[in-house]
């Protein structure tokens, strides 16, 4: 197997995340009724980074965030050998009338987002839901879902795997890598 190619190193990643934060501030300031929801498991890391940066830029921002686990809503339950393990869902507020920003690291087929949307609807009827992703794989979508905020768009072959490595995974630094399956 060839060595994974680094698509984004730590420095670039920081710049991209900062840009996303400014876009969010531009769109949502003063953050009235805005709820940030990270998708389990990996979107939560990105959410934490966003929170850190936004709070640095606008220190007294009213920040509401939660995490959602799409496992129970997935459409591949009992298909194939893969077992679907649940993660924690924690939505701190009733979502009626809220503006939700759904956060994930890589947008691939769109099926995880579809399941997450269904899970979110159990918590009320949000006024709007926008999707923010760090990496948008453009030509791999299987359901009609498009992000509103994108860190970087890439158009790689299906058999290539894009992974965002977070320091929390035990890796040296945050980076985005591309590897052959």
């Amino acid at each position: 197997m060839s060595r994974p190619k680094i698509l984004m190193n730590q420095d670039l990643l920081e710049v991209v995340i900062q840009r996303l934060c400014y876009q969010l501030i531009e769109r949502y300031s003063p953050f009235d009724q805005v709820v940030f929801i990270g998708i389990q498991p990996r979107g939560v890391f990105l959410l934490t980074e966003l929170e850190k940066q936004i709070k640095r830029i606008v220190p007294d921002i009213p920040w509401i965030s939660g995490v959602v686990d799409p496992t129970f809503y997935r459409d591949d339950f009992r298909r194939g050998d893969k077992q679907l393990l649940a993660h924690t869902t924690k939505i701190p507020v009733h979502l009626d009338g809220c503006k939700v920003v759904l956060v994930d690291d890589v947008l691939y087929t769109g099926r995880t987002i579809r399941a997450s949307l269904e899970a979110l609807m159990e918590y009320g009827r949000p006024e709007s839901i926008d999707l923010l992703v760090l990496i948008n794989r453009k030509f791999t979508r299987q359901v009609p879902i498009e992000p509103a905020f994108v860190g970087k768009s890439i158009d790689q072959y299906d058999r290539q795997k894009v992974k965002v490595l977070w320091q929390k995974d035990g890796e040296g630094e945050n980076q985005v890598v591309l590897s052959q399956e």
């Binding site: 496992t71 009992r78 077992q83 393990l85």
Partner: protein, 315 residues
């Protein structure tokens, strides 16, 4: 690496589960408990699964709890109770179940008065079977929800001391609880009249104590069992009178006051108020009886969900 599936295709008893299996069930029960707090307490995971609840013996709580768990997972449910069925006409267990399965049922939950009935059935049909109590043998989901409730209060069970009081001989709850608690690292003591404690129980590694007050001082939590009058032969007397039993082994506020620490009080239900437990204790601040009932639905959802993952979807 977390274990990602149960090591058994059925839930026939705690005996078949490993400590990792129990951890996996608890982990999912935590998530399902969160689902049960939502405005919409339902997930669509089991939309295409049909489950038959076969109750050859009476039940209120367990049956309702199973049915709610199934419905919260969006499964279709059919219920069957022996009193209104062809069992009365002489049909065998395997025939009854095979007829139900012919109607495309994917999973069976069964309660039966004969110990081992679920094990027997698992050898004759090829759908996942969940034991909802088989005679005096096992009641695995009860043991799981008891341990889950204790874990919720204590954080972890390792090193905790749990006392089980009452009719150990006729209790499937006791046997499953002993096994489950030991697998999670807790110490177990049983207490009751000598006539109601099986002779070889010590071999399971449990402490045996006949004096209730001594036993209470030892434990961190106590599980009060109901006297199973329906399982006792009328000709055999295990204790002189209910009143005497109650005086010796009934948990009352006075008795509890003498215990130096705050212990947790459990009961698998149904409660015979004034016999094994007094009303003020059952409804008191140390009682987690209603937590047990609440957790029962989450535990059963977890078990059903994990077993259903093993059923391949027909294409």
């Amino acid at each position: 690496m977390t274990k990602d599936q149960l090591s058994t295709p059925h839930l026939l008893g705690i005996k078949d589960l490993t400590a990792e299996d129990i951890a996996l069930i608890f982990r999912h029960a935590d998530e399902f408990k969160e689902v049960l707090q939502r405005p919409i307490k339902k997930v669509p995971s089991l939309r295409d699964i049909t489950i038959a609840n076969l109750f050859f013996e009476n039940s209120t709580r367990t049956r309702l709890s199973f049915e709610l768990a199934q419905k919260r997972l969006s499964a279709d449910v059919v219920n069957f109770s022996a009193s209104t069925s062809s069992v009365k006409k002489g049909e065998t267990l395997v025939d009854t179940v095979n007829n139900i399965l012919a109607m495309k049922v994917d999973m069976v939950v069964m309660r039966h008065a004969s110990p081992g009935a679920c094990i027997f059935l698992s050898q004759h049909v090829d759908v996942p079977i969940i034991n909802a109590g088989d005679g005096t043998h096992e009641h695995p989901t009860q043991a799981l929800l008891d341990a889950f409730s204790l874990r919720e209060k204590f954080g972890k069970l390792k090193g905790k001391k749990v006392l089980i009081v009452g009719d150990i001989t006729h209790s499937r709850v006791a046997l499953s609880n002993i096994d489950c608690l030991q697998k999670l690292g807790a110490e177990v003591m049983v207490c009751g009249p000598a006539t109601m404690i099986p002779k070889h129980l010590g071999q399971l590694g449990v402490h045996i104590e006949h004096d209730f007050d001594t036993a209470l001082q030892w434990c961190d939590a106590v599980n009060m069992l109901r006297i199973q009058l329906e399982r006792q032969e009328a000709s055999v007397r295990f204790f002189p009178t209910l009143r005497e039993y109650s005086l010796q082994y009934g948990l009352t506020a006075d008795r509890l006051k003498k215990v130096k620490k705050d212990i947790l009080i459990m009961h698998p239900g149904p409660i015979n108020r004034g016999v094994e437990i007094s009303s003020d204790v059952a409804d008191g601040s140390q009682s987690i009886i209603l937590d047990q009932v609440e957790n029962g639905v989450a535990i059963r959802m977890a078990v059903i969900y994990l077993l259903a993952q093993k059923i391949q979807r027909s294409q």
